[in-house]
């Protein structure tokens, strides 16, 4: 029988929630890596028991963890080839969690500064991995979106990481600037029909696409309008919060921008607004139904100054028309005195016949709808603040 495995990253550790296909009775495992921030965990589509996790700390830096047994045990994969994977007392080794920006002459344009909050140039400084995106086909290939914004790739299961420096080096890098949460690369989307194509997004720079496997990149922000930047229609500088895609239609992208929900039908070459009748079009998450590519989900947040749900009501909004026409989904969700936020990587969908939708809140709840959003139940109520939610459908 099918089952689902929900990977939850929180401010104080990781949790793994599992259930059978009914998604009614849940088993909770964790906290893993207790006390550390887990920005993101994601399983390999090609080898689902392989899970990568970004374990991070403002004090102690970045750790990459990997499980090859569905999250039961973990290693830090940076052990040199041929050496034992455990040290004294059986402790796992990891000599490397190194993310070193490429400033080599081979890149042609060593790039060392970006725009700081005050408009001055500021050195690129690695802080953490925000998002991990395993390859669709190769378990040992995995991408990492980092702060300060860059994309790295590992071809050896996370042991070593190399920057795809064409992104930072393509020319607009000195104009990128951090959003309030930092200058993070948070969205990485593979095109299932074209292994050379990836779309990424950075706050606050915008969306970018490669069509040659990561060597060269171009901004894809035409149609975005951001009144909070000096030139509202600039080529870069937009605060994109998240991008989502249904893999059966990879040219159709949906974006939750700082303000505005956007849609592209040409792989990001142009965008149009589809906020429609949303009560507020500020927000962080956006996702697409697994089987209905015109059904999309957002969770409106009151404003950029008030990062909690509108009117004290936790409402998921669903559009079955690819945007513009939205309906509130409230059954099972608190409809008064609720002031949580839902962060950009904290929504996911499973691919069971009745599509499941999941999201986690800064209040520590993880909600599941086993019927595409019609009704909701909290799987857990009281975790630390949730940073990310991913789900694996296991058959």
């Amino acid at each position: 029988m099918s089952k689902v495995r929900v990977l939850v990253g929180t401010r104080k550790g990781a949790f793994i929630l599992t259930a059978d296909g009914k998604r009614e009775k849940w088993t909770v495992s964790g906290p893993h890596f207790a006390g550390w921030e887990i920005y993101h965990m994601k399983g390999s589509p090609a080898s689902p028991n392989r899970i990568y996790a970004s374990q991070t700390s403002g004090w102690f830096g970045q750790i990459i963890q990997r499980s090859d047994d569905g999250g039961k045990t973990w290693i830090q994969p940076g052990t040199p080839p041929g050496e034992s994977t455990t040290g004294p007392g059986g402790a796992p080794k990891a000599e490397s969690n190194k993310f070193v920006y490429d400033t080599s002459a081979e890149t042609g344009k060593p790039l060392t500064t970006h725009q700081w909050y005050d408009g001055t140039q500021h050195p690129w400084e690695f802080k953490r991995v925000w998002h991990i995106e395993p390859s669709l086909t190769e378990p040992d290939v995995v991408y990492a979106g980092v702060e300060d914004a860059a994309i790295f790739r590992s071809k050896d299961g996370g042991k070593s990481w190399q920057e795809l420096s064409g992104l930072r080096g393509h020319g607009t890098g000195p104009q990128w600037q951090p959003g309030a949460g930092g200058m993070c690369l948070h969205s990485i989307l593979h095109d299932p029909s074209n292994p050379k194509r990836m779309v990424i997004a950075i706050s606050a720079a915008g969306a970018f696409r490669t069509d040659d496997g990561g060597k060269t990149w171009k901004p894809i922000n035409k149609g975005l309008h951001s009144q909070y930047i000096p030139n509202p229609t600039a080529e870069v500088g937009h605060c994109v919060h998240h991008i989502a895609m249904n893999g059966t239609r990879p040219n159709v992208l949906f974006m939750q921008k700082h303000w505005d929900v956007m849609r592209s039908d040409d792989a990001g070459d142009s965008w149009k607004e589809v906020s429609g009748n949303l009560p507020t079009d500020f927000g962080f998450v956006i996702d697409v139904h697994a089987h209905e590519p015109e059904t999309i989900y957002v969770i409106p947040i009151k404003s950029d100054g008030e990062h909690y749900v509108h009117e004290g009501k936790l409402r998921v909004y669903r559009s079955r028309a690819g945007g513009n026409e939205w309906e509130p989904l409230t059954k099972g969700l608190p409809q008064k005195d609720c002031y949580v936020n839902v962060l950009r990587d904290a929504m996911a969908v499973d691919s069971l016949e009745k599509c499941g939708v999941y999201f986690g809140t800064t209040g520590g709840q993880v909600y599941c709808s086993a019927n595409a959003g019609n009704s909701w139940k909290a799987i857990v109520h009281d975790l630390p603040a949730v940073l990310s939610v991913e789900v694996q459908t296991l058959r």
């Binding site: 700390s57 102690f60 830096g61 750790i63 040290g87 990891a94 000599e95 969690n97 070193v100």
Partner: protein
């Protein structure tokens, strides 16, 4: 300067790093050459490779900003990493403390 009776330097890690290294309590390590912050950290990272990059930056080898080094009630954080450690640390009477900045949350 006389060495420790056991020939080892005592180190106390902050709790997060004890968890990462899978150790409880303090650590005692043999240190090659004159004991300094640098040589102690080199020995620590050689024995516990998972700590590489968590105390010193991977690339610059600079102390991470939210960490400090103390011994004998003195702050050694801003001393040269090659300065000799206090005799009491070398003798094993006192540990070298690696502390994280105090913060809520």
């Amino acid at each position: 300067m006389t060495g420790s009776p056991t020939g080892k330097i005592r180190i106390i890690l902050p709790p997060h790093l004890r968890g990462l290294a899978h150790v409880k309590g303090e650590i005692s390590l043999d240190v090659a050459g004159p004991p300094t912050v640098r040589s102690v950290l080199d020995a620590l990272e050689a024995t516990y490779p998972m700590l590489q990059g968590t105390i010193r930056d991977h690339v610059t080898q600079q102390r991470r900003p939210f960490l400090r080094f103390f011994a004998c009630e003195e702050d050694l954080s801003h001393e040269s990493p090659d300065a000799p450690l206090p005799d009491a640390v070398v003798s094993g009477k006192e540990p070298l403390l690696i502390l994280g900045a105090i913060a809520g949350g």
